[in-house]
Subunit: 395 residues, 2 copies
């Protein structure tokens, strides 16, 4: 491993000859993170159902927490007083905090946006709050994550061109204000490219933000209900406009098949609540696709649900036991499924990276997508809508 | 440690000079269990929220599972096919299965009791079932626990003398039938003394069951709503009537203060869902009594909730973090509280045993009860009623 002389460094190690996939190293104050990398979601300072040791054991190198959630509960001052987020949640690997832009625009009722900032009501107790790019940056400095995000305005996937354009321009202004506010030099502040499903706006956004010179760039505002083909085109076009030597973070995307597509289009970081959320509904990732443990076929199966898997869950328990725990709503069930799904994704990311390093990513991708039966798009959209409606607000 | 030549052996090591407290060793096919011992409840084949490794780490040597629950879900045949309960739940220490008598009489609607057995409807799906002492014994042989329990009829705490007497006589007949049915010689079958709050019936029950010669005796039908003073008198009188050289198992009693009182009256085994159930409501055991983590005083406390405790929870997290997890209903909260409470009880049982061995149990007991502020009786009764009504059926 090379000498680490800049905590914001990102080193490209190898690029795939047949696609835009890249393998890299992202240097953080809490360790070097090998990319492509998947970040599980621990919005409220915990990856749902898991202890920090368990998250580590699944091979996860960095997780995501959320400024919006932590600001409302327990409050920035409490986390700061407890020594920052790493110490508070007993996690000594890297953390990225999202700015909370997406959450304010998707969870909080009665928000009022102005150029100055956003007034919103808490989804928890209805209390009113006013935040600005300056405040969000200061909050994230006090939370002490390794990577922090600029505040963005996230439009709905079916908003008009004009509305999306206005949100994009505001996102640019806010990114600049976040950049000017930043005082700490041991955190990397990433900007978020917006522009919805309009290639012209995505291009403007990428160019403008790139001109400001951030240590990393996120692609936001995708996978919000638009058709998957559109998502992939926008990812491909946007990623191609971002600097080669900076990490690219594809926000909110995290099914195994979508991660692979994102990697192929040149993205390096991925986060999503999907692997942990579907786990709590009994969906286990396998190399053939998602399998639901509640299926009667598992009720008497002595094998683990994925016989080749070496995660704690598969090493220790039969599929029949997992089926039983889910039947009984035993809380242990959700944990064992979460351990499996995060181990699966970690393992997948390692295989993806090895394939890029070996120059075999394209065949790995084809092979994976041939065997892995994705959840069909209508089911995905229905699940997503159910989830958004049920307001599973912790993630 | 002495030579183990009988898997049903119970060795008395020392008796307290000032009380009836005893320290012993209970030999099982899954290890020697030091008594007095507390068994956490894992009715459905899991101690709620914990993995088997975590249960072990708290120092627990034996746990309780429930024939009623496992018969309904996943079914006796499934557990048997998976290699028995130990293998099914990946627990290699001792297990005691309750016969399910108490559950049938407290959870199942529309039960009909005859001398032959019980017809009841499942609390899960309303399906109708008929069980007999013979069947319950065979079920427990197939589940493969180390200690199994005779089927008993458990009357309500305010039933009439005549009703309690009839249930007792039936319990005696059923115990005899269980004994005759037993084929395996590597499981110890314990009988359950009934007789409600009537000393005369308790005496008859103890004498009758003792005459049949079981390797252990339980005291059932207590802590069901009768005043605590009555409970203690019945425990004291009943335990005194049971053979000195056999283990005595006080069923369903498990608050720290009640366990100490039970030990002082000569009981060796204790089980209760209380330590794990109150944990999930945010109540942490401390040497001063139960403290609720949701109290605002904990919201900014950097210390662990019990600074002297060496459990995983207290070693790793501040009280403020636990307070936050409970505020957010993060599932990890319930687990961390459960780990703490079981560690506390394990630790307490070790201290109790050491005190008996050192001849200082009486002063240990006085000291403990002086510092430990028990939940007042009205609150206890209210909590118990709320729990029974809410039908938290998993425990």
């Amino acid at each position: 491993m090379r000498l680490i002389n800049n905590l914001k460094d990102f080193h490209l190690i190898r690029t795939c000859p047949d696609s835009r996939a890249r393998a890299g190293e992202l240097v953080t104050p809490h360790g070097v993170v090998l990319t492509p990398v998947f970040l599980p979601v621990g919005s409220q300072g915990a990856v749902k159902t898991l202890s920090p040791e368990e998250v580590k054991d699944t091979g996860i190198a960095m997780l995501l927490a959320n400024t919006y959630h932590l600001y409302l509960r327990p409050g920035i001052a409490v986390v700061e007083k407890m020594g920052g987020l790493h110490k508070f949640m007993a996690w000594d690997r890297a953390i990225l905090t999202d700015s909370g832009g997406y959450q304010i625009f998707s969870l909080a009722p009665l928000r009022q946006v102005s150029d100055e900032g956003v007034i919103f009501r808490s989804h928890i107790d209805g209390s009113q709050h006013f935040i600005t790019p300056e405040l969000i940056t200061q909050f994230q400095e006090r939370l002490s994550a390794d990577i922090i995000m600029a505040l963005d305005e996230c439009p709905a996937h079916d908003d008009s061109f004009e509305k999306v354009q206005r949100a994009m321009i505001r996102t640019h202004q806010w990114a600049e204000r976040c950049q000017k506010t930043q005082k700490r030099n041991d955190q990397a502040l990433y900007a978020i490219v917006q522009g919805g499903i309009f290639p012209q706006l995505r291009q403007q956004s990428a160019e403008y933000l790139t001109s400001l010179g951030f240590p990393g760039y996120a692609i936001g505002g995708l996978s919000l209900g638009e058709p998957k083909k559109v998502t992939l085109v926008i990812i491909e076009e946007t990623a191609a406009l971002l600097p080669e030597n900076k990490p690219r973070y594809l926000m909110g995307i995290g099914s195994p098949e979508d991660i692979i597509e994102g990697v192929a289009r040149g993205c390096d970081l991925f986060d999503s609540a999907l692997p942990t959320r579907v786990a709590r509904n009994g969906a286990f990732f396998t190399w053939q696709g998602r399998h639901n443990i509640q299926n009667a076929a598992y009720s008497q199966m002595e094998q683990p649900i994925e016989p080749d898997c070496d995660c704690y869950t598969c090493r220790t328990f039969s599929a029949a036991y997992l089926h039983h725990l889910f039947s009984c709503d035993e809380l242990l069930a959700y944990r064992l499924a979460t351990i499996h799904n995060l181990s699966f994704i970690s393992n997948l990311m390692h295989k993806v990276r090895d394939a890029i390093l070996n120059g075999t990513f394209s065949s790995f991708k084809d092979n994976f997508l041939t065997n892995y039966k994705p959840t069909d798009e209508q089911t995905r959209l229905n699940q997503k809508q159910r989830w958004l409606k049920s307001r599973d607000l912790g993630e």
